[in-house]
Amino acid sequence: MMETGRHAVFIWSAYGLTCLVAFGLVLRAVLDHRAQTRALARLEAGSGPAGSGPRG
């Protein structure tokens, strides 16, 4: 393992936070895409998404 010296905290937290943000971006992309595909499938199957559209 390489040497990161006495500033290890800063280096690791910088990389850690960056990973966290990158992971968040990917997660958001995947979840959002999945939600939209599901909604589209439901709509194309003919029944509206629950809770939307006029009642009555």
């Binding site: 040497e3 010296g5 280096i11 910088a14 194309e44 939307s52």
Partner: protein
Amino acid sequence: MLTRLANPGFFMRVSGLALAPLAAAAALLFALGLYLAFFASPADYQQGETVRIMYIHVPAAWLALFFYSIMAVSALGTLVWRHPLADVSQRAAAPIGAAFTLVCLVTGSLWGKPMWGTYWVWDARLTSVLVLFLMYCGVLALWRAVDDPGRAARAVAVLTLVGAVNIPIVKYSVEWWSTLHQGPSVFRMGGPTIDPSMLRPLLVMALAFTLFGTALHLAGMRTEILRRRVRSLTLLQAERLERAAA
């Protein structure tokens, strides 16, 4: 070619094909970049080991600017050509750009503590990046404030273009004003001044970030197109139900 790519159906097909290779390439480059950054590059004689923060700080800064530029160009597309794909591109770029700006700010602060002795100073570079982040926040707030996507896109486009004056300020602030932050050392007249042993990981990481960002942008645009389809279908169905009720 360009007009054909601007057709949403065609765009969906091409982007669907491109997404997986892009993501894979980004992952590979990240692995290579991280290896170079931690094992194959020396500590800086001046900055010590903390120079390794550069390999994420600088690419994040570049992409923060890059995504704002994408938003600005798409904004032109929205206002001038009224192309729906431009709206979609604007919308997908905003959260990604904001995230990279945040990374730039956070890693910069974490670098500043050991280098300058403080997390934050109010110099022109840092300030203008913070303003950039605030602009991204404004853009995101505006997107969320309107439910009609066409109208939202036009409003956001105006805001983006007005805020675009900040981009050159971020870029050139270190040259226009004397700042604590250091000047450009890669993209400058007369070639880079960084030692190749540090330039190599930097460029690899930059490429990895770019591919990663592009993949996210494409994925975001695809989702956005789906969202619009869902919206119009929902409205259509509501209308049909209403007709039936009346």
